[in-house]
């Protein structure tokens, strides 16, 4: 259901209604494409469209102007129906220079709209972009796409001329010109952006005025130019009623942690060391000092988790976060957290690996690191959000599990979720249920001795905090004696504690919701996914269903322990497909645990799945598959403890 089709060019300035539009704004890092994208996103959200965005930053801070490495892109899909991804192919591409054009053109669908800033095209730019000649001269371009060349820079200069700004200042406004043009093209109102300009540049009135003029000029240009015969209209989407806000994943995580702290009557401690793409959580949380949030930028990741454990020992809600390489450094301390049985959250915002890898790209290849990357048997619960807005939810669930089971809980996010955004329905704070947390009270000399490793029905030990009279006790990384927590080298005690720490994690499954599926309860194909691939998988499965295939989708948010009914589910389908942005990590865990011949759909390119590639893969299995073997009923129990 594409939006812009050449055939639609009938009456001049016609307005055409379309279901959804995917636009990418691409230019030099200096051209302000991220700002343009964010504005377009918010404006569309305010219009009531469903939205999904995906920014694509250059790997360098400011790669040299005009180079391919310096291209910064922002993709947004806005639609009148429910959408789950920023879109596979572009309906429209705005390219501010040759580098932006050549690096993005392949994502523009045939017949799609290409808008270029003609002033950005000259010999100097060709050299920088490493293209021999002007790419616009390539005849195939006009055969394939609807190309519109606009001298945005000069038009912007004219628009702001009367203000007598320097040329530099004037040229800086050109992204607002582009914005105005795009707004006209897709029937977006100017007011939200005008408000933004007023707020942001209030202190520099002349800049504010210039940007506003550029914006209006862009709009006017669309209105008047011959270049565009049609503009396009996207009706509001039918979202669940409520008040909405556009949310990025890292922001949602930060806010979710805030909510969890408030729900449990705790103040938040956040210990971290900056690393892409996790740093923004720190930048967000450190704004909330008036919420009692203490952020600690440590000297390294080990110090960050050490401080987190220390704060947890003191009775605070403590959280640490990093990305793959930093998580590796936290491994030893996480093991201590498991031994101490203190509640805390460890967040991994995954990026391309191994080693330094592809820091600005997305990947899901840290699952096994978090499952097994510690010495000895040291199991921890692992949760993964399925979308930017879901981060708000997952953060609170993670804390609930942490305090109920007295254990460090892992949240596996990724770069795609962290920087992507979608509408988030603002909850009613007054209706948020409290998260129960209790600390044992003081004891007098006479009372029976305090047992720091005596367990409750969840196998959780009491969270006794320093300052409490009579509860003085020592914790540490040496094996502890059951109940007393004293150091113990007793062989049977060690076995008992190893088993208990595992059972404590396994038991969490009893308290978690059962796995649901989207689609038939049983059938040919079950697609099992986790984390940021939710949107692509869900949409792909829906398409396949519409094409009449017998396929269902189970998106797993709880990776350890796995949902209690997952084994049964897998058994109800002929084929189990597991799309992952890694080489098959969840796939391996499920094969081991359930002895089901799960088949991986794997992509490790630093990029999310496209819907169409998934549809294609799934379709490939839609016809007569060999029956899958399933012996999980026989082996489930025994194997469970082993998967730890």
């Amino acid at each position: 259901m594409s939006a812009l089709t050449p055939g639609s060019e009938t009456s001049p300035k016609a307005v055409e209604n379309v279901e959804g539009i995917t636009v990418r704004l691409a230019g030099d890092s200096g051209d302000g494409m991220q700002l343009l994208g964010t504005q377009l996103t918010n404006t569309s959200a305010l219009l009531g469209n469903d939205i999904a965005t995906f920014p694509d930053f250059p790997a360098e801070i400011r790669a040299p102007r005009g180079t391919r490495a310096g291209v910064s892109g922002f993709q947004v899909q806005f639609a009148s129906n429910e959408i789950f991804t920023p879109g596979d192919v572009l309906d429209a591409l705005v390219a501010m220079n040759p580098a932006a054009l050549v690096t993005n053109i392949n994502d523009l669908r045939p017949g799609g709209l290409l808008i270029v800033n003609l002033d950005g095209f000259n010999e100097k730019e060709y050299k920088l972009a490493k293209v021999k000649s002007n790419p616009l001269d390539d005849p195939r371009l006009r055969e394939r796409y609807r190309v519109t060349e606009i001298a945005m820079t000069s038009l912007t200069r004219d628009a702001v001329a009367e203000l007598g700004l320097g040329m530099k200042e004037a040229d800086r406004c050109k992204n607002f010109f582009a914005m105005g043009l795009v707004y006209w093209l897709f029937g977006r109102p100017l007011d939200p952006t005008l408000r933004f300009i007023a707020a942001k540049f209030g202190k520099k009135p002349d800049v504010a005025v210039a940007n506003e003029k550029a914006l209006r000029a862009g709009w006017a240009f669309g209105e008047t130019t011959e270049a565009f015969a049609t503009s396009y209209q996207v009706e509001p989407a039918q979202l669940e009623s409520g008040t909405y806000k556009n949310m990025m994943g890292n922001q949602a995580l930060a806010w979710g942690l805030l909510a969890a702290a408030q729900r449990s009557g705790k103040e938040l401690f956040y210990g971290t060391y900056p690393i892409t793409p996790a740093s923004d959580i720190l930048h967000e949380l450190t704004k909330f000092k008036n919420f009692g949030v203490r952020t600690f930028q440590a000297e390294d990741e080990i110090s960050a988790i050490g401080a987190t454990i220390g704060a947890a020992f003191g009775g605070t809600m403590a959280v640490t976060a990093s990305s793959g390489p930093g998580i590796a450094l936290k491994a030893e301390a996480m093991g201590l957290g498991v031994m101490l049985e203190l509640p805390m959250i460890v967040i991994d915002v995954q990026r391309g690996g191994p080693s330094t890898g592809l820091p600005t790209k997305t990947e899901q290849a840290d699952l096994l690191q978090l499952m097994f990357g510690r010495n000895g048997e040291a199991p921890v619960p692992i949760l993964a959000p399925q979308s930017p807005a879901d981060c708000f939810q997952i953060a609170q669930e993670a804390w609930e599990i942490a305090v109920q089971s007295m254990v460090p809980v892992v949240i596996l996010s990724d770069g795609y979720i962290a920087n992507g955004s979608e509408p988030w329905k603002i909850p009613d704070v007054s209706k948020m249920a409290p998260i129960e947390v209790s600390h044992p009270g003081p004891r007098a000399e006479g009372d029976e001795p305090f047992l720091p490793y005596l367990r409750d029905e969840n196998l959780a030990r009491p969270w006794a905090i320093p300052g409490t009279e009579g509860l003085m006790h020592r914790v540490g990384g040496l094996e502890k004696e059951d109940r007393t927590g004293n150091v113990s080298y007793d062989p049977d005690n060690h076995q008992h504690m190893v088993n208990t720490r595992q059972r404590k994690i396994d038991d969490i499954a009893k308290r978690l919701p059962l796995q649901t599926v989207f689609g038939p309860e049983k059938g040919d194909i079950l697609v099992v996914s986790w984390g940021g691939t939710y949107g692509a998988c869900h949409t792909a499965v829906r398409r396949c269903q519409n094409q009449g295939m017998s396929v269902a989708h189970a998106h797993v948010r709880y990776l350890n322990p796995l949902p209690a009914n997952l084994g049964e589910l897998l058994a109800s389908y002929q084929t189990v497909l597991v799309p992952e942005l890694n080489s098959g990590q969840l796939c391996m865990l499920m094969r081991a645990k359930f002895l089901v011949d799960c088949i991986g759909i794997n992509k490790v390119k630093g990029k999310p799945f496209t819907i169409s590639e998934l549809v294609e893969k799934i379709s490939g299995y839609a016809v007569d598959q060999p029956p899958v073997v399933n012996t999980h009923n026989k082996t489930d129990k025994r194997v469970q403890s082993k998967a730890g």
Binding site: A45, L46, L47, G48, P192, P236, L239, E240, S241, G242, T243, Y244, K245, W255, L258, A259, Q262, E267, F269, G271, F288, K289, N290, F291, V293, R294, F296, A298, E299, D300, I302, S303, A304, G306, A307, T308, I309, G310, A311, F313, G314, G315, T316, A318, A333, L336, L340, I426, V429, S430, P466, G467, E469, H473, R474, V475, G476, G477, L478, N486
Partner: protein, 336 residues
């Protein structure tokens, strides 16, 4: 409220002590138990955090809260605890390997942040728990399990490094000198900000007598000089030797030849740390090694005070956080 008066024995936990007979750790433990009651802090308000090593077993023997953490990282746990729980008195117990080898980075960073905790560094110039490899404070040429032909690393001077890392309280004492040790531990506890106490501790199994010159009754007077604020540096059995400063350099003189007020007068309060640094460079056998408080500078903001001050300030300026208000801030839209 009037606290129950506690005795040293009230601070003993019920765990058997597992150090070698004759280990210097015992006397440090004894002094700690003796000093704590004098501070009037209830046991439940005290936390001992250690890394890994013989010395780091310390917390198990104290009837307070404690954490025997992982190797070299004790200051990090203390940082999270103290910044969120300023009401607690936090001690870090560490060894020369724990603090200066694997833990060197946390060591300098906790000092420069001036977190209000007390660090006691048990320096036996050896890795005890792993049975006798050389440590960053082992002397050059020292033959150990891992250096059969002698250690080739130039040793780290813990106090020089600490002073250079902006430490506000730096002191040294000796396990065998129990009275002095007790006083220094007390001074450390009283200082606001990070207090570092290096204790010369004898490992009689793997490095016996390494610091005998500072420990034995008949040697220590001639090879150590006790620092006292505002007093000249005088030492020797017969207190006949002194320290003088000439042209920014230190020299040993006979008190008989030099009038007392020409001697170096110790100023532990000096903000400028150069003189304290100079004292830390005095090394056996060339010089008597200073024991006592090298540096005790008050009034430098502590990390825990500052982080909490920003919280209070933020609350005053913006009012206590209102989640609903935050959620509704910025661009939002209604769906009917």
């Amino acid at each position: 409220m009037n606290l129950p008066v506690l005795k040293a024995t009230d601070f003993a936990s019920d765990q058997d002590i597992r150090w070698c007979p004759g280990c210097g750790d015992y006397s440090i433990l004894a002094q700690m138990k003796k000093v704590l009651p004098e501070l009037g802090v209830p046991r439940e308000k005290i936390v001992f955090i250690s890394g890994i090593g013989c010395s780091s077993r310390f917390p198990y023997y104290m009837n307070t809260y404690g954490m025997h953490s992982i190797h070299g990282r004790a200051p990090t746990f203390a940082t999270g605890l103290k910044t969120t729980r300023q009401d607690l008195m936090v001690w870090v117990i560490t060894g020369d390997g724990d603090a200066l080898s694997i833990g060197g980075n946390h060591f300098i960073h906790v000092l420069r942040r001036n977190l209000d905790i007390n660090i006691v560094l048990f320096n036996n110039r050896i890795y005890g728990l792993t049975k006798g490899q050389y440590s960053p404070t082992s002397v050059e040429g020292q033959v150990t399990k891992s250096t059969p032909m002698g250690a080739i690393d130039h040793p780290l001077n813990p106090l020089s490094v600490a002073i250079a890392a902006e430490a506000t309280f730096v002191a040294r004492s000796v396990d065998a000198n129990v009275k002095h040790l007790g006083e220094i531990l007390k001074r450390a506890a009283e200082h606001k900000g990070t207090s570092l106490v290096e204790v010369y501790q004898n490992c009689n199994v793997f490095n016996d007598g390494a610091m005998n010159y500072a420990q034995s009754r008949d040697l220590r007077d001639d090879h150590t000089v006790e620092l006292e604020h505002g007093k000249p540096l005088i030492f020797g059995k017969d207190r006949d030797k002194g320290i003088r400063l000439v042209g920014g350099r230190i020299e040993v003189v006979n008190t008989s030849d030099v009038p007392a007020d020409d001697l170096l007068i110790h100023d532990e309060k000096s903000k400028d740390s150069t003189l304290h640094y100079m004292l830390s460079r005095m090394r056996y056998p060339d010089f008597p090694e200073p024991i006592g408080v090298f540096r005790d500078v008050q009034g430098v903001a502590t990390y825990d005070d500052q982080i909490n001050a920003q919280i209070t300030q933020a609350k005053q300026i913006r009012g206590p956080g209102d989640l609903q208000k935050l959620f509704n801030s910025g661009d939002t839209w209604q769906v009917a």
